[in-house]
Symmetry: C2
Subunit: 559 residues, 2 copies
Amino acid sequence: MPVLRYTIGVDFGTLSGRAVLVRVGDGAEVATAVSEYRNGVIDERLPESGLQLEPDWALQDPDDYLRVFAEAIPAVLRASGVAPEEIIGIGIDFTACTMLPTKWDGTPLCRLPEFRSNPHAWVKLWKHHAAQPEADRVNQVAAELGEPWLARYGGKISSEWFFPKALQILNEAPEIYEAADRLIEAADWVVWQLTGVETRNTCTAGYKAIWSKRDGFPRREFFRALHPRMEHIVDEKMMRELSPIGTRAGSLTPQMAALTGLRPGIAVAVANVDAHVSVPACKVTRPGTLVSIMGTSVCDMLLDTREAMVEGMCGYTEDGILPGYLGYEAGQSCVGDGFAWFVENCATPEYHDEARATGRSIHAVLEAYAAQLRPGESGLLALDWWNGNRSILVDADLSALMLGITLATTPPEMYRAWIEATAFGKRVILDAFRAQGLTINDIVACGGLPERNKLFMQITADVVGLPIKVSASSQTPALGSAMFAAVAAGSAAGGYDSIEVAAEHMAHLKDEAFVPNPAHRQVYDELYAEYVRLHDYFGRHADSTIKKLKRIKLMTRDS
Amino acid sequence: MPVLRYTIGVDFGTLSGRAVLVRVGDGAEVATAVSEYRNGVIDERLPESGLQLEPDWALQDPDDYLRVFAEAIPAVLRASGVAPEEIIGIGIDFTACTMLPTKWDGTPLCRLPEFRSNPHAWVKLWKHHAAQPEADRVNQVAAELGEPWLARYGGKISSEWFFPKALQILNEAPEIYEAADRLIEAADWVVWQLTGVETRNTCTAGYKAIWSKRDGFPRREFFRALHPRMEHIVDEKMMRELSPIGTRAGSLTPQMAALTGLRPGIAVAVANVDAHVSVPACKVTRPGTLVSIMGTSVCDMLLDTREAMVEGMCGYTEDGILPGYLGYEAGQSCVGDGFAWFVENCATPEYHDEARATGRSIHAVLEAYAAQLRPGESGLLALDWWNGNRSILVDADLSALMLGITLATTPPEMYRAWIEATAFGKRVILDAFRAQGLTINDIVACGGLPERNKLFMQITADVVGLPIKVSASSQTPALGSAMFAAVAAGSAAGGYDSIEVAAEHMAHLKDEAFVPNPAHRQVYDELYAEYVRLHDYFGRHADSTIKKLKRIKLMTRDS
């Protein structure tokens, strides 16, 4: 009888953390437990002090992360009946850039009484959007100084990323900036808690903190121009030596072993990002296959050995997703969220009634009607910019539109047109990759939408003209973290020596695939040409009607 | 005690005829009766034979019109208690172009057994749209021969008008064309039935049959080029001497007096069109005031002494609305219908629930929420082309669009944006009038919308920047017909000698007026500039995305 080995992957999401206990031999997901963050997303008032936050703020409590270890890991051990001796490693993935200020020993500043009522002492969550002035400043200074890295991020640094958030702390709470011995990604902070040793991963550094394997971080002159007190931020509050994805960060401390019920000394993997860790969990370890995480929004990732400046990329990083490859990331900021908006704001009572009567969701009812329509039949076409455009235009001021509406237009026709719009949006991204010589032969999807909306999947396949396979796991990030845990443990301990081998054994795809319908594709080619015309007409010009509407809207609200 | 005199106006609509008994002295509407057409709009199967009609057909039964006289006139006499001796005249208005083939004596061909199962023997209703190939041919031949009248109709003859319908009869049922001694507007046919004498009015001839006071009908060469057997259509089946609006067609025959309960010999006014007869009923008898009939669609009429070629006008006719003036007509093909589409296809259950709970219409609920929004606040902008664009683009292939949609967009915001779009559409029409030097100082509205949707009225005033007064009558066409009946009777019989004097006494406006809000107007000026950009971008180019969508849609449906 072979010895069975297991690892645990912990996926830190926006509202909760999820631990999955996985069998190393075949990737079977033996047990899952979820721990909701007690303080959730802090976007109105600080806990305890009740201090009111400005709009666009989004904070978290780092102790909620520790509770995930304390609650969810014992829970999967109990549920699975697996003995601690059989667990050989643990890996985590996190939202990013989610960052916090700490003391030298890793104590979060928000845990200290003197800073507990200062919002800048808390974790700034990825969707904290209050650092837009700082992001503007970063982009302005980088452009003025001609910083070479700007092109790598499609020409724009986002307000969600590391240095805008750090600069906001310095601008608005210099005492916190001073008191912070470390500024660190939450991903690396939880690994620090597990191992007792501070490490920094190449993935978040590359995608969110303007680091590259060849050039490191931006030069001191840039930081000085940004703010004199930031000149030495990397040396003072960060780290220049980074730990590559796929390596071992350290060993589980006795304290954390006691907290979790695991054995001390087992392997802890270097921290990772939720989206990126999904790539090997989708069994993708080579160029040519796009990984799409399809949910409220969509994140597209591609490995390649070629360096390409792709328009409006969210960024690319060497070794950022898998060792040995450049990892490209793009995305659509609103997909499932857009369909939910439609159901919430545009579905008439008859569809609600039918859903109730047949025990289905309203989405399912609309989907069934929409599936009976032929491409082009409704005469509708939409731009899917409900929440701006992340790739390739990188413009939050854009908004959605629908045209072709007549007195005969029905809700299922509109529902289908919105789905088609998201598929056209994806094709624009694929075309941008291809225009720079990158190859995409097929797609592997994961996330919630492939399960929930088959019509969306089929239309996407028809529009992009590529087959779409689907991950067999419904929790790919946690699975991916468990896979990296197996690699951190290594074959000597019963794990694997590379993520490629781990993916071979532990990652699985469903038999089902969505294959393009050639007849549909022909009509979609014509509609896509019109989508691109609208995309360029409304998206590429500073004085486009959509942007003017946004300015008028802001002006009206301010008046 | 002064002798009280009355007239009766009969308004022939699409589904019913309405008789209104009006006091001549002050225009008081003493009694109203409606007679529904037994055969309604015949658009699926012919009565009796059950013959199935092609799509786009819309016929009527002329005997339904006679039943209106037989039912509704006795009903208003009964209801009012007015003695037949006090009734001095009768006037009618009709939809147009609604036309039929008859024998020399006025017998409709569809009444003859040998033609009763031939659809071309029946009345072709204004919205019979099956003569589009014939309209295309009329436009093509007119363009080839350089016919001067084409410009008068904005460059395009509609499939709804007289000669396309006549040509369709000849093309598809030459035996009906041959058997038809007369081809006549239903408006003139019912007056013929009342008086026993065939007359033809200048209004329908001018607006629907390419006639003008100066040049008469198109020349024979044009008709010959259209179809050899049509060369003499005017002399063979129509009439060259036309009766001006505002004159007397004849006297009520003894037979019709017996049928209706009126006295034989009373004045019968020359036939008129429902929209145009509303102009004096709105107390407008001079240039400078636009009359807007606002309902499912909107019809705009303007009097002027200046001749102007206004882009995309539905036409203008000398003496077509009032004697001594050129009458200009434009319109929006979908207004109230568009709001109804929204309520039907986009209003979510909460608005239905609130309407039920508060005993209001869904429109009223949405209107109340929409009224709380400020112009520009939603960031939305729409083009109101649900049913194409009648003026000024004259293009049925156009469709509606909405842009500026975000995840925060709500149904009341969309409802308001659609209302704003119809107001912008009206301003485009006003600007086209003004661009040709015509003056518009204010607007008088009538129809159903001014009563039902105050927000629409206020937004229209704000957008066009003109005050809007509202007719006091909710049945302006029938009132207008009663006014023309008083003029046909003349002052000697207790009526009036001109429509101007009749309007002075018989037409009334409400005290309430919608006055532009200057603060709103400023934002609307900015939004209007964007509306015009979209209007021109999508509406003025043959390869616009909207037109391509229509072509793809047709192609898909045919395949």
